[in-house]
Amino acid sequence: MGSNYISGAEIVIRCLHEEKVKFVFGYPGGAVLNIYDAVFQQNKFKHVLVRHEQAAVHAADAYSRSTGKVGVALVTSGPGATNAVTGIATAYMDSIPMVIISGQVPTYAIGQDAFQECDTVGITRPCVKHNFLVKDIKDIASTMKKAFYVAASGRPGPVLVDIPKDITAEKYEFSYPKTVHLRSYNPIIKGHSGQIKKALLLLLDAKRPMVYSGGGVVLGDASNQLTKFVRTLGSPITSTLMGLGGFPASDKQFLGMLGMHGTYEANMAMQECDVLLAVGARFDDRVIGNPEHFLSKPKTIIHIDIDPSSISKRVKIDVPIVGDVISVLTELNDLLSKEKIKQNASLKPWFKEIDQWRSTNCLNFKNDKKLIKPQFVIQTLHKITKGDAFITSDVGQHQMWAAQYYPFDKPRRWINSGGLGTMGVGLPYAMGTQLAHPDAKVACVTGEASIQMCIQELSTCKQFHLPIKIINLNNRYMGMVRQWQEFFYGNRYAESYMEALPDFVKLAESYGHVGMKIEKPSDVEPALKEAFSSKLKERLVFMDFITDQKENVFPMVPNGKGLSEMIIAEDL
């Protein structure tokens, strides 16, 4: 054995160094003890010890969402891996590039029902982009290289590498492959030029053009190109929950978010347009509602997406363009700069109609003297942070209010679980985001039910001095569940009332943080000001806002209905 032989565990670490990994989020255990020993003996990346493996994966996921880099998590076999599954499935649904390393029982014990054995590759198969079981130390480096490549390229996604313990103890020479080639995997980057030209001509000819942008624009770092294109085209634009920030919300061409809780103007324009350009979006059920209803008004649909399987999945596409959004949008911009466009005189009637929809002011709400309106808290948060914070959220009404009342002008600022809708992500998402952006303002908008699903992470926040501001919109209900029960189940609030809530102020304090309870509307702004003041700059502040219990999220497209069948607040 040459002197350049190192252990499998050290090889894993060297691979992470080669990939310039800055943070590994993890939790130790028997099967990864060798790897942890190697983590201990290096200082090129920081290991962030969480309090539950689910949070490790969520935090790594948010690190990726907020930076665009590949997030990395490390967990042990058996329960470590199963705890990670929710995090992996969450990242998979939103196409987040991640590498998850899991320990496995030794190769000779696999299949013997060994202590802490589970079929991690089998369990995670349906919720990863790809996974590997490394059976030979010789394959560790090449597998890690493949894992990072597959995770980040094409339509991104989580990749899991399962490594048996014996392999991490053996020794082998380390050499990291410079390049990687998989004959079975060749993501298409450049769109078809003929189709791109055709799309542009259709858009320029349209009387009622509309752009619908999704998470793909954010993930593909194409927001500059999208913004340039839409501004030159002059059309209205809407965004999915996942695409917020991909186009500046403060721009007058922006109609707000669409979908189940989208704005009236965005949903109506989606329904009534004649040519629709979808960019990095997937026409999912929460976005277009009932596909038949959506198509009942004829329109020509152009769809740019890197994933061919996203095209014509729920809605038949007239002009499909498979390619990386940034490359296709760049080509569109180049073409557009050559075409002579008449300055949108022809779009005036379209915008007139849109302005009429806008005039419903569908996001209007009545502030109250006594009860704190959750929407008001978010608006004030926007004001105090000057719209420039990273906002993570959990899942529920508070998530929708955050999306509706905190307009995002930049991509990668809005960090939430759109596809899987995982309660519990908010706090770990804030951790990953704050670590990636130590000087930025990071606020976690959550509810009293969601926050309790990963509350243990307050301890991680203390250990790593993460000055996150938690905005707990405490309505004493699983509000979103209660809202559905109110509308569709005759006010029978089955198991949606949150009994026996903890004293969140004391809870925060017991973890070493600052706690605040805010019960009056007039205290909202002063409290937020204080939380974001320089005095508390270094501290995590848990703000428990006692909000109006019966507030609902509007507008709302009931499940299975069409986009123009919205319930608006006044309708009720």
């Binding site: 349906p126 079981l133 079975s184 994933d307 399987s309 014509s312």
Partner: protein
């Protein structure tokens, strides 16, 4: 409509379950699925017989292509192709059935590959519908056991699926 999809995939453990998992997770039909290594030992060839509307078949092809282990996918129904399936049937061949079974075997161009006093074991190849037709043609009470491989298919003429 019934479609026969051929694919080449990395001959790695787990590759099969990625394909079968895809079908169950997305609720696609599988009528049959066969897989074996090719002349290149790093590759396996799989034949899947499925059915669905044009949109569903299009999604199936796209989803299969998306699997990292899948190298190439071909919908044989996109062109001309040959389909073959092997069936081995054990039938009663006592005095009552012996002649009849021999005759039906000949009609379907099968071969008797094992004989006992009371039974014949017959091998028949052909399209799956031909095998179905054979089964329907003989007395149900005479069938002792059947085993079918599931269909394999290959393009006609210059239609070649290769890496």
């Amino acid at each position: 409509m019934r479609h026969i999809i051929s694919l080449l995939m990395e001959n790695e453990s787990g590759a099969l379950s990625r394909v079968s998992g895809l079908f169950s997770a997305r609720g696609y039909n599988i009528e049959s699925l066969t897989v074996a290594p090719t002349e290149d030992p790093t590759l396996s060839r799989m034949t899947i017989v499925t059915s669905g509307s044009d949109e569903i078949i299009e999604q199936i092809i796209k989803q299969l292509n998306k699997l990292i282990d899948v190298v190439k996918v071909l919908d044989l129904n996109d062109g001309r192709f040959i389909e073959r399936e092997l069936m081995i049937v054990k039938v009663k061949a006592n005095a009552q059935y012996r002649d009849e079974m021999k005759r039906m075997c000949d009609i379907f161009r099968g071969r008797i590959i094992d004989v006992s006093d009371s039974s014949f074991t017959i091998e028949i190849t052909g399209s799956s519908s031909k095998l179905d037709a054979y089964i329907e043609s003989i007395d149900e009470a005479a069938i002792l056991e059947t085993v079918r491989t599931g269909a394999s298919g290959i393009g006609r003429g210059d239609r070649i699926l290769k890496v």
